[in-house]
Amino acid sequence: MNRIELTRIPFIKNTLKSRYPQLAVFIVMLVGYIFAILAGLIGTPVGSHNFSIVFVWIAWWAILILVAVPFFGRGWCAVCPIPLPGEWLQRGAVLAPPDKRPKWLNLRVPKMFRNIWMQNISFLLLALFSSVLLTTPNITGIVLAAMLFAAIGLSAIFERRAFCRYLCPVGGFIGLYSQTAPIELRIKDKQVCVKCEGKPCYNGSDAGYGCPWDVFPGGMTKNTFCGLCMECIRTCPHDNIAINLRPFSADLAKPSTRMDEAFKAFIMLGSAIIYAGVLLGPWGSFKDAAYNVGSGAWFIYATVFLATIFIVLPGLFTLGIMTTKGRQSLKQRFMSLSTALIPLGLMFWVAFSLSFVLTNASYILAALSDPLGLGWNLFGTANAAWQPMLTTILAPAQTLALVVGLVWSARTAQKVNEAGASTIPVIVYCFVATSIMLWLLL
């Protein structure tokens, strides 16, 4: 299937090129984000009735993992309000053409941090405390505020969106899974970029800012680090940037060559399995261990969590691919074949999220009418009863998601595998992981 250039449609192109629609969405999102922080800090401590918990961890998460990431890749990053205040501070303007003189330190992020290891660590930090984070409004409020202030602070020290690119715990996995999305931002003609003087898409011009994500669009072959901020569409003097519709997982044909991304795939896969066991499983002792942060049981839980992600899952994967022979080194094969885990991990998260989103979605109505738990009834739905939704299709939908993930991973393994080497160990690995997930969810 060929790509379909969406930016050929004048309405889409003009909407993306103008700053105003995006700014309007940014402002609405920022208001919602700050309200979520406030709701977490001053609203009812009962999570199921607090806007911060219900709208962040149920509504936003559902939109993100079930719609935004699978279909729009980094579409969420395009409207995420976290970088807005920091960028204003960094640029000294919201819309005005960039000033030649940097406003703040404008340092380049040190080379050792120019990868997604920091994002892996920040995600794991949240993951280890997730039982508390997902249920305690003031902790959610503090974490949301910390992310906003971290983004502002890093904007004052480093150039571009250092927080989004290197630290955001959410951005890391969105980037990984955005490779599967049927949408991409790419250049139209490479030769135009080669000949282009000044590279305004990367360095900025009077028409707009240099890529906030520190990506040169001319060399981009994957979605991973493109935040879809549309700045390059505005700055390209040759109209050489396009938004394309494409087949699902087009980026996965090019295997990963980075260890940080390979481990991201294991982190996401392992987290989904552990969450399914701890948050949805019937084992009360697991839930207690995960919730009682700082207790002995929690330290055991944290150790098992990290060992599963960093030792057990990658170790078994390595043992599997060691049985096959190939021209590449084991390390290269590890990184390359771990690409097959990306669609599997995404579908694990889809299946896991379906379960708790459909179970808890009815809380959204009540929280919408009384977001702080102050006894309001803004839309007449404050007393909406908790009611699990679509329970009859939940198990089939989860099973379907997992099976699709398995088939998708097997196909990806065959694509990224070097000629002649067997993909059977990777497929068996994916099959075993899927069986475990199926058992945990059903």
Partner: protein, 164 residues
Amino acid sequence: MKRPELISRILIVAGILLAVGAPLFLWARTPLIHARMAEDGGWNPDVIQAETGKPLHLKLTSDDVVHGFAVGQMDMQSVDILPGKVTEITLTFDKPGIYTFFCTRWCGLNHWRMRGTIEVTGGWISSPQGAHPSLLLFPSTFLSTWTLTLRTTRLLFQMKSHQQ
């Protein structure tokens, strides 16, 4: 500064002020009485001021489990306080004094300790019924029996804790 830039900045600042100010303002204007298990603090506040003859509007919410609310020396039906929900009740006092309010739901090990006081000032208001709440649903005889049962239960607990 160009006009679009100025308008954008104003909109962002206004949005931030609205997002911060509106909830804080509304939150500050909605005094709630929070119920928590006695181990976690009990009633907050646990002392409430009132005046005889003036209706006392209370908004109660639970921060953890289901609690109940009732005032001793008053003929009233206890009301349930649900987690994250707000229960409203209006009380009117005819006699000054210190009234005890307490949890009527078995909410935890120290449930019986979950008490607070309403300090009522002012003169006596003549009423054949004495102090009464606006919410009168149960006959007083039933309530008296119920209160007696509750007090007996408390006494038993007190005796048990002394023995321990």
